[in-house]
Symmetry: C2
Subunit: 377 residues, 2 copies
């Protein structure tokens, strides 16, 4: 039974590592505004981020524990985390949406404030309030030197266990797809029912589901489902990001609805071989582009080969890209997806995806390794 | 049967209204970077926003149709919308994540660029890329003068129909809660099963679910569910933001698990009376603070009375707040929630919520109007 939450020691260690790097970067504080960044340092877990009406702030000082500067509606929940210094205001209050409170908190520290500023980041705060904050600060806002992203990229064993748990939930749901998909069933119905299966198998929620179906695969991997019914001869793909205790899985499966077209099974086999090549290349010290090269050598460099996988954790995609240009070095504890794609015909693609964790001596598989197309209908 | 999507005329009208306001504000373009803003002008609908790895841009020029500047992975789906000018780059490409392409697009226009900058906004782009963009532009980035939020606040009849459809889905799911909740069932199980019911009743997905249970209600309305079992005497609340075709409902129901405490039924009646007072006060021309005052006069001004409702539409919460300080004037076509809260005992609250649309002559109810606590178990 995987435990919910983390020990206090996990958060203390995260903060200590951040403070080491902050000292090297000459930062007096980190200022965090987004859900995963705030959760990483505090454990604050809520779906209320779906509401854009209130900004949330956490300050990680150069020494000492983080300070939460948050709307009063969240104070009780934050008080259940390990954070004890919680400062709140009655939001929404557009004339001063926590900016004075935040500026006072930061101005008590002596030096520049680091803000996550690189790829995949944003400040979850309106530009007008960012300007107000800058004007109220004694010290400048600066880039955080990539500290937050660097730390998040390597997962603890407790984090890996949560991702593995999410993978197992999705694996059980994928095994039940023959219950919900058959010729004549609209793809939109399959999407709905697959989300129900994921919940039934233990997912807390299902932030992401994509997929497609057709004789030669699908046009892309981001479109919502149409109401078109499945037809014999289609290959159907479902790709899910299901969440357990705040951590994602992200893998897919392809299903043959009746007998697939002659080229499809062979193409799918090529995807599995490419995934296997990625698994073998994903050694500590290898670079993301090395893994990409190993996979592309098998699956080819078609339209789908721009990115053949990515980091995974508190977000559906995070951190490195398995692309030709990403030279990030793999470190033990990184969790990544292997996601080769192949052009088929009619402008369509097939995509396969698995989840692995980088380990000394060789990557460990988290999603059950697919062995072939599952036949349904 | 409510239709998916919108006619092209709806988007053309949205752009025309924006361009009228842009002319008044002296803006040569709007630059949009977030999901609802981009969807509002283009119809681009995907759950792929869950991935933070790529920025997306839409430019609404002072005259002419919007231009999409987006990652190549989205070009096929964008081409299915009414947008014809689609410029893409192979993302992720951190060394130039669409910034040159976007700057070229904006620099072909002659004047300042408006960015949504007020409450509830953010630029979905790292600070480093925002600085790169500023440096590459001939003209400054400015606030959009609230144009995007102002337009989104009033819904078309087609938008209202989608929200009403989502409300009906949730209403059917709420009616089935006695199937899934009973003394002894963990609240976390109820959450999982209620999401399944929402999908079963037609929701495309369930981005938001909150709630709580206890003899005197719940500590807040944002916490995730615990594994604690429901007990006879609890009042349980479920609050959902379910989505159909990109539009949210957002209302809740309270359930009495067995016989409630003596004060609970009376307190719940007071919430219903407060909601009714809000409905009657929600006339065109009234201000948000007027509706708040009418509701607070009934439910009191306790901890929960900071915000007694909010706008609703493409996001779970958007636009005005029913608070003492929000002087936004209600306009026909605005969809809002009425959400009174009352302190009970033990630091707990009860909250009730309904959804309405502002109409000439009086607001129209979208969520089925609750008449009392539903008894379960």
């Amino acid at each position: 039974m995987t435990a919910r939450g983390f020990d206090r020691a996990e958060y203390v260690a995260r903060v200590a590592r951040a403070q080491d790097l902050m000292a090297q970067a000459g930062l007096a504080a980190l200022l965090l505004t987004t859900e995963p960044e705030i959760r990483y340092f505090t454990g604050f877990l809520t779906r209320f981020w779906e509401s854009p009406s209130r900004p949330w702030f956490v300050v990680v000082p150069a020494s000492g524990d983080p300070v939460a500067v948050i709307p009063s509606i969240g104070a009780a929940l934050m008080a259940q985390t390990w954070i004890t210094d919680i400062r709140s205001w009655p939001a929404p209050r557009p004339e001063d949406e926590g900016i004075t409170l935040l500026a006072d908190t930061l101005n008590a520290l002596d030096g520049p404030v680091g803000v996550p500023s690189g790829p995949e980041t944003h400040m979850r705060l309106g530009m007008a309030d960012i300007e107000r904050l800058r004007a109220a600060l004694r010290h400048p806002l600066r880039a955080d030197a990539g500290i937050t992203a660097y730390l998040r990229a390597v997962k603890s064993e407790a984090e890996i266990a949560k991702i593995a748990h999410a993978c197992q939930i999705a694996a059980r749901a994928f095994a039940r797809v023959p219950e919900i998909a058959a010729p004549g069933v609209p793809l939109s119905r399959v999407f709905r029912d697959f989300q129900r299966l994921l919940l039934d198998e233990g997912a807390d929620w299902v932030p992401y589901l994509a997929g497609g179906a057709g004789p030669q695969g699908y046009a892309d991997v981001i479109s919502p489902a149409s109401d078109a019914p499945l037809r014999a001869g289609d290959v159907m793909m479902l790709d899910t990001g299901a969440v357990w205790d705040g951590y994602f899985c992200d893998f897919d499966r392809n299903f043959a609805v009746g007998a697939p077209a002659a080229n499809i099974a062979a193409t799918h086999d090529r995807l599995l071989e490419s995934t296997q090549a990625g698994l073998e290349a994903a050694q500590p010290g290898a670079r993301a582009c090395d893994v990409h090269a190993a996979m592309a050598a098998v699956c080819g460099a078609g339209e789908g080969a721009g990115r053949l996988g990515h980091g995974l954790g508190m977000q559906l995609t995070e951190g490195l890209s398995l692309s030709a240009v990403d030279r990030t070095e793999l470190r033990p504890g990184m969790v990544i997806t292997l996601e080769p794609g192949v052009d088929t015909a009619d402008g369509c693609i097939l995509v396969h995806e698995e989840n692995i964790v980088i380990r000394e001596g060789g990557a460990q598989v988290l999603s059950p390794w697919a062995t072939g197309l599952t036949r349904i209908g």
